[in-house]
């Protein structure tokens, strides 16, 4: 042992003395490469996190908010809309709320939007994430009825009006009374002598203020506001309302594409005799 050790020490000493000191140039490139690598490492983790936290679809924004994607880019998270709201409807998302951090939102069952005619939350927005133009009419007057925070939907299994119990709480609470929610009378076949007074939501008028959700008498609201994107379906461009002149106009610029299908030339009776091959 004692023989080997000094020798190997010598060898390693020789090795290190042989190795040239790293040039400044090489050091520079290595440190830049290291920093770049670390930036990519951190950047990917960071963007994964951001992508997760901004993917929340079920969030209701203040009136006049831009599309969710533009809203997230434009809102500076200053909270001035929250301060301007006289009903404490609006809140800023805190850590733990599981919503895009620092952005304003409201929960109607807690406090709905009372649709102030002067809309104090919108003009204070410094960035235009709440776009005042979207709640102005042609005369540049503020019109809260043009707000589009979401749309109310009804779960008719838990709505007691659909059971035949008389309740028009949501209809009465609606600030656009008779326009956004109307009541439809139908016969109650079960009793044979009573009527159902069913609330019907008119999605094109509904602003999503959530006063109906707040007013709903059931344990968990049977009528509730969802972001329009979540609540609404889409028929697609290929359906045209033939009875609607404006919709028909879309045909004018349409290009046609023909599909041809081979028609079976055999007669129908042959098909029955073919041992069902054609049918399956």
């Amino acid at each position: 042992m004692s023989n080997i050790n000094p020798q190997s020490k010598k060898e390693s000493k020789m090795k290190t003395s042989v190795r040239e000191p790293m040039s400044e140039r090489r050091k520079f490139f290595l440190s830049v490469a290291r920093a770049t690598g670390l930036a990519i490492l951190g950047g990917l983790t960071w963007s994964a996190y951001v992508s997760e936290v901004t993917a929340k679809e079920l969030i209701l924004r203040p009136p006049a908010a831009l599309d969710e994607k533009d809203f997230l880019a434009t809102c500076i998270k200053c909270g001035m809309c929250v301060e301007a709201c006289p009903f404490d409807t609006l809140k800023l998302a805190k850590p733990g709320d599981n919503k895009p951090l620092g952005t304003p939102y409201f929960e109607p069952r807690d406090i709905p939007c009372y649709m102030c005619p002067d809309i104090p939350c919108v003009p204070v927005c410094p960035t235009g994430a709440l776009d005042i133009k979207s709640v102005q009419n042609e005369k540049k007057e503020l019109d809260i009825a043009k707000a589009d925070m979401g749309v109310a939907v009804i779960d008719d299994n838990s709505c007691i009006a659909f059971w035949g119990i008389q309740c028009d709480a949501c209809y009465r609470a609606c600030p656009l009374l008779g326009e956004a929610i109307s009541v439809e009378y139908t016969k109650n076949e079960r009793t044979g002598k009573h009527a159902f007074l069913k609330p019907v939501i008119h999605a094109d008028v509904c602003t999503g203020c959530g006063l109906c959700e707040k007013a709903c008498v059931t344990e968990k609201a049977a009528i509730f506001v969802l972001p329009r994107k979540v609540a609404e379906g889409k028929a697609g461009d290929y359906y045209i309302k033939g009875w609607d002149k404006n919709d028909e106009k879309r045909l004018e610029s349409a290009t046609s594409q023909e599909n041809t299908t081979e028609i079976n030339k055999k007669s129908a009776i042959d098909s029955l005799n073919s041992g069902m091959e054609d049918l399956y």
Binding site: A39, G43, T74, I76, K91, K94
Partner: protein, 276 residues
């Protein structure tokens, strides 16, 4: 012997400024007394003057947001102030996180953690890499990337609008600075501090060093959160021109020899020195 007040005069003034700015925001939110509305991301002073965080605005711009006049004017006013007068004063005179990191740093000194961990294995340029990364992410994801993870915003927004689990991020910063890295958050990582360093690089209010008075006691270097800016101590009479100096004034108040003081950057003298 210096009195207690004169020994901590800037520290006391800074704490008063930091706390009163937060108080102004809180009373605007809670009582509607609108001297200063909003928060440190964007505010409205006296119901008239918009002020905006230039780093947040830069991220929004890169993210493709259409910037309003108000927010651009706000960022411009802030840049103008720190570029000409304040330097990086935001960090030590306004930002509430500074109170947390100063506390961590104080405990580090008191308990002697600096003795068991003398080498700080991280570069103080990380913050500029974080800025670059945040802009790249903002560009590709179309959102202001740092604003969604910023512990600074969590803290000031938390103080004004409700904290939630924001206390956890405060604790993370505190523990990080206490046990992991000396001046870790404010002095290495925070991209907002980096942005204000870049903005305040040429500001006029600077700490000046009088070499003749200096006794090389090194008290200033012990308290300085950005110790690299004090490299001229014991060497030459010059203003501290390092962009990362936060103008906190700790070095000025701990100096017993009148070797450090605030003054307006004396460009003439600087040039003379260069000639010599």
């Amino acid at each position: 012997m210096k009195t207690f007040i004169s020994k901590y005069r800037f520290l006391i003034a800074r704490r008063i400024t930091q706390v009163s700015i937060m108080v102004l925001y809180v009373i605007a939110n809670v009582y509607g007394i609108n001297f200063l509305m909003g928060n440190l991301s964007s505010s409205l002073l006296l119901g008239l003057v918009p002020l905006s965080d230039p780093y947040a605005v830069a991220q929004m711009f890169v993210a493709g947001a259409v910037l309003s006049f108000d927010v651009l004017l706000g960022a411009f006013l802030i840049i103008l102030f720190y570029m000409t007068i304040g330097g990086r004063a935001f960090c030590s005179w306004v930002c509430p996180v500074n109170i947390i990191t100063d506390a961590a740093n104080y405990l580090r000194r008191k308990f002697g953690f600096n003795q068991i961990q003398k080498k700080q294995p991280a570069s103080r340029n990380i913050r500029y890499w974080v800025i670059a990364t945040s802009l790249v992410i903002s560009f590709f994801m179309g959102i202001a990337a740092f604003e969604f993870i910023s512990p600074i915003s969590m803290v000031h927004r938390g103080i004004i609008f409700g904290l939630g689990f924001g206390w956890a991020s405060m604790l993370v910063i505190f523990l990080f600075d206490l046990f992991v890295l000396k001046n870790g958050w404010c002095g290495h990582i925070c991209p907002l501090g980096g942005a204000y360093s870049l903005i305040g690089k040429f500001s006029f209010i600077r700490v000046h060093h009088k070499h003749d008075n200096c006794t090389a006691c090194m008290k200033c270097k012990e308290v300085c959160p950005e110790v690299q800016v004090l490299h001229i101590i014991t060497k030459e009479s010059k203003p501290i021109t390092g962009k990362e100096c936060t103008n906190c004034g700790r070095c000025v108040e701990v100096c017993d020899d009148e070797a450090l003081n605030f003054s307006i950057k004396n460009l003439k003298k600087e040039k003379q020195n260069e000639v010599q």
